[in-house]
Amino acid sequence: MADAKVIPFDDDRSRGAAVQRPARRRAAGSRRKGGAEQAAVREPAAAVRESAVVREVSPLAGRIPAQEDVHVTRENPEAGVKQPHDEAGLEQRVARGLAFLRRRLTGEYEVDDFGYDEELTDQVLMSLLRPVYEKYFRVEVKGMENIPAEGGALIVANHSGTLPLDGLMMQVAVHDRHPANRHLRLLAADLVFVLPVVNELARKLGHTLACAEDAERLLGQGELVGVMPEGFKGIGKPFSERYKLQRFGRGGFVSTALRQGVPIIPCSIVGAEEIYPMIGNAKTLARVLGIPYFPLTPTFPWLGPLGAVPLPTKWTIQFGEPILTDGYPPEAAEDPMLMFNLTDQVREQIQHTLYKLLVQRRSVFF
């Protein structure tokens, strides 16, 4: 059933983009994941379909290189017919796709201790997020050189947008734009791991629970870890408070970074605040459902599922100058004053960059 929903999306795209290169992204994976998973993607995907058709010309240049590494393709007869000269490449892709399919079906793939399925993420989940990233939010990335090519680092970002799409977009940004194609391991709220389907996807995308143990373990393994210390306070704040950073938890992320001696990279995300302008919060309903807030936007829940389509804002993600922590003595992680100072420093830097980016921004949507 879920298949039927996705196929037209692809057909649209390949028809539109046939001149350049058919979008053969409709991977084995889009089919292989459960229906519910696709339900989550379906809303943005449906919206992408529209925007992809409308905005065909401008983003193509940026899109082609990104497509090169998407080789999950399964045989796509339409594409094969349209591009006969691409035969050899196509065959290779098909062979790779089938090898991938074979590995997946027989369970011969690896996941790490956190349940991170690198293959599935790279081949399938990323290619589902990429259209949203490139076409829908047209994310512009700055300061990628601030992320080290190897070794642990803690990326600290602002959090907004009612649904944590900003984290996912940051993950795509780091993976696609970083020269070393690094994988960002996000720290997520415990609610994520309580919800069915969501927890499974989050684990496979490499996310883990936002706790000091997990963060330190990942940083100790030399991973790039992303955290949004505002948590629910940031993501569930009303529209009127947009781009005002909330309190940064208790600054646990700073002591974690200090203990591991990894740099803290402040990251400012502009655009996510406006995707779901939260004008109200049905607190009683939220309590009944056991979620921290129940957003009321101009469209949600009035328009039903259609109201859950995010507004197509233009995003900018800027990674700032790293704040080094390896110069501090080991006992510094126990010093609350230093913790507060560093937390404030990170917070200030993110807030400052947010204001700067907002001044530069021409409009919310372009």
């Binding site: 027989t106 369970g107 996941v111 956190f114």
Partner: protein, 357 residues
């Protein structure tokens, strides 16, 4: 050396293995029921460790090492859950009481389980030996192990001269494993919890025997074998991977339905699908094994995946054996005109994926 719980396969194997070690003069094997397998040259004494007679047995044998393997989740033969719990908890108390009175005992090894960590969404992804569980197990075998470990800690405080080693085993699998998880994996169709894909870790029976052996002897140079250790094979398998490697399709059910069905099956006495088993198959559990490697100096021969492969070999093939699925994909790859092969691609591939997730 005194070994409890020898009527089980694992206990029997351990007794047979340990007698080949030159350091071991005599093995006294204890259990409430006579074992069906032979115990090599060990002396079997039929006694219930819930009874104070265990103290006499221990005193008469003059054992300097006690290996307590009678902490288990399932009854042996026809026993009720109450009996298992009593053997686990009261039996451990009696045995510890006996050890405390015995001046000869120098070393105590307890077979525990990683069940003590519970399994909850709010737990860190990887448990170390010091991680406190976020939600204490509310009942069943997991609670037994928590209580057993509590008594063992008390004993270790009272008898600091005794080297106490608590081994927390991950799920034990192998060709002859008879754990609840092994019987779960032998179902023709695996019921799973919809929307969850738990991370599982296994440890091979051979490795269990080996690590018990290491723990019950004098420590090698540079290692220490008293304390608490997580024992698990390297790596992690997801339940979906397990089902695919076994070739058994899964049936995702909603969590409330699984809980309800589990309690129904339990009430009917058909199988012991306990709540903690369901929690494990919902949220999964992964433990860190750095202590096992660096302090205990034990390197498991089998990784989690290898353990599972060894277990799967001993199982009857499932409905969708991975070889058949792989061959189907290969056949498609061999098709000259792939566009013609499209229709046939769908049939073999769609079913397992849909069910496996």
């Amino acid at each position: 050396m005194l070994v409890t719980g020898v009527a089980r396969q694992l206990g029997g194997r351990f007794v047979r293995r340990i007698q080949r070690d030159p350091e071991v003069d005599r093995v006294v094997a204890v259990d409430a029921v006579p074992p069906e397998h032979h115990l090599g040259g060990a002396d079997f004494i039929q006694t219930d460790i819930r009874q104070p007679t265990i103290a006499r047995v221990l005193a008469e044998s003059g054992a300097d090492t006690v290996v307590h393997m009678d902490v288990t989740g399932t009854p042996l033969g026809s026993g009720s859950r109450t009996t298992v719990k009593e053997t686990n908890v009261i039996g451990t108390m009696q045995l510890l009481g006996a050890c405390q009175k015995s001046p000869n005992v120098k070393r105590l090894v307890i077979k525990s389980s990683t069940n003590v960590y519970g399994s909850a969404p709010k737990d860190p992804a990887v448990f170390t030996e010091t991680t406190p569980p976020k939600s204490l197990p509310s009942g069943g075998f997991a609670k037994d192990t928590v209580e057993v470990e509590g008594y063992v800690r008390g004993f270790a405080r009272r008898r600091p001269d005794v080297a106490v080693c608590v081994l927390r085993f991950a799920n034990i699998l192998g060709p002859t494993a008879d754990s609840p998880l092994a019987s779960y994996f032998s179902l023709p169709v695996l019921p799973t919890v919809f929307g969850y894909d738990p991370r599982l870790q296994f440890v091979h029976e051979d490795d269990v025997i080996e690590v018990l052996r290491i723990a019950s002897h004098e420590p090698e140079r540079g290692t220490l074998n008293s304390g608490t250790f997580n024992i698990a094979g390297d790596g992690v398998l997801l339940l979906s991977q397990c089902s695919r490697r076994l070739g058994r399709p899964t049936v995702p059910l909603l969590l409330p339905a699984v809980t309800w069905a589990g309690s129904l099956v339990r009430t009917l006495g058909m199988s012991d699908f306990s709540p903690e088993q369901i929690r494990l198959l919902t949220h999964g559990r992964v433990v860190e094994t750095v202590q096992m490697r660096e302090t205990l100096g034990f390197r498991p021969k089998y990784t989690t995946a290898a353990t599972f492969a060894d277990f799967a070999r001993a199982q009857v093939p499932g409905l969708l054996p991975p070889q058949v699925v792989a061959a189907a994909v290969d056949r498609i790859a061999a098709l000259p005109a792939l566009s013609g092969g499209r229709a046939s691609t769908r049939t073999p591939t769609q079913n397992p994926t849909q069910s496996a997730n």
